[in-house]
Subunit: 197 residues, 2 copies
């Protein structure tokens, strides 16, 4: 089927997206072809636009369309608070909650002995520079509650201890969570961090 | 976050794809931004190319890049055999099996009283034209084994009866299927259509 080659090429590319396999990529492409004018062409334009403009913030590692992202450039954000996250997706999740008014630092992953990821492979040197150079009073570690995330948190605490206040997100029962469905580690953490009512 | 507007627009568009929601769209877009050169730009180019070239075959309704699709234009395909399918996805599934050497006719859906889909909303008039005009000896109904699919099959049989041989795909136990996991209807169909060994 020679004349399907462009369509097949698109299916192959779509199948490389996380969460899509060959079957769902075919389904998505058929849907796109049916909605050529409404969806396929706008999506092509939007992707070309993002490919042209997207870049990492030189300061914090967030993804945006300028060398310094909108959060770093925003004067209304508290300069003293720095929230350290693993990934841009985590930054976006924090921003959706809308509760944090400081700035961010995206590490770009976690330390991992297994995958040979050291501090210099992450944005950790840049973090130390920022703590030294900016007027930061508190570093909030918002790393994932995984082994690699906690290892990375410990490493950062080691590096920054005594130079700035370091806090981390509270661990405990999630809002709406049912004890029966929680793992032992979460229950232990919640019990150890219990609060007087 | 003004400078994320292009990225947000892309996320909104991606979330309209079947199988992707807001969360997986965000994940896909972050993945695309990380692989800007390798994936995002090629995907944008490929989509623009498909948006420009994709069209429905005037003869059978298949999706391709010319007015007559590669299958209809292929002299080596048997002219006497016509396989009727609901959807382009079904045609692609038949082609992947590689066993059918005739041509196709894509209905573009099924008859449905509930959704007010009549014969003229589908490519059924065109099917009758083709059976009258082309040298077709056998029409193979490869419609889905759903109520709407079977209603549509019965309607086509009514229209074509006596003018051409009409067959349908066999129903029974799928290859690799376990009886314990099959529904009663499939077991009934398989038992009724049992074959001497």
């Amino acid at each position: 089927m020679a004349d399907r080659s462009e369509i097949d090429a698109l299916i192959d590319l779509m199948a490389k997206l996380p969460g899509l396999g060959p079957r769902s990529a075919r389904r998505a492409v058929l849907h796109l072809i049916r909605k050529r004018g409404l969806l396929l062409q706008p999506l092509a334009d939007s992707m070309a636009e993002v490919a042209r403009t997207a870049r990492e913030c030189l300061n914090c590692g967030n993804v945006g369309t300028s060398d310094i992202c909108a959060i770093c450039a925003d004067d209304r954000r508290a300069t003293g608070l720095l929230c350290v996250v693993e990934d841009v997706a985590d930054l976006w999740a924090m921003e959706r909650s809308g509760v944090f008014k400081g700035r961010y630092h995206v590490l770009g992953g976690t330390l991992s002995a297994l995958d040979a990821v050291g501090p210099e492979d992450l944005r950790i040197p840049k973090l130390l520079d920022r703590v030294a150079g900016e007027e930061i009073t508190e570093v909030i570690l918002a790393l994932n509650a995984t082994i690699d995330g906690q290892t990375t948190a410990h490493y950062i605490v080691d590096q920054l201890e005594g130079r700035v206040e370091i806090t981390s997100l509270a661990q405990g029962v999630p809002i709406g969570g049912e004890l029966d469905y929680l793992d032992d580690g979460t229950i232990t953490a919640a019990l150890n961090a219990r609060k007087r009512m």
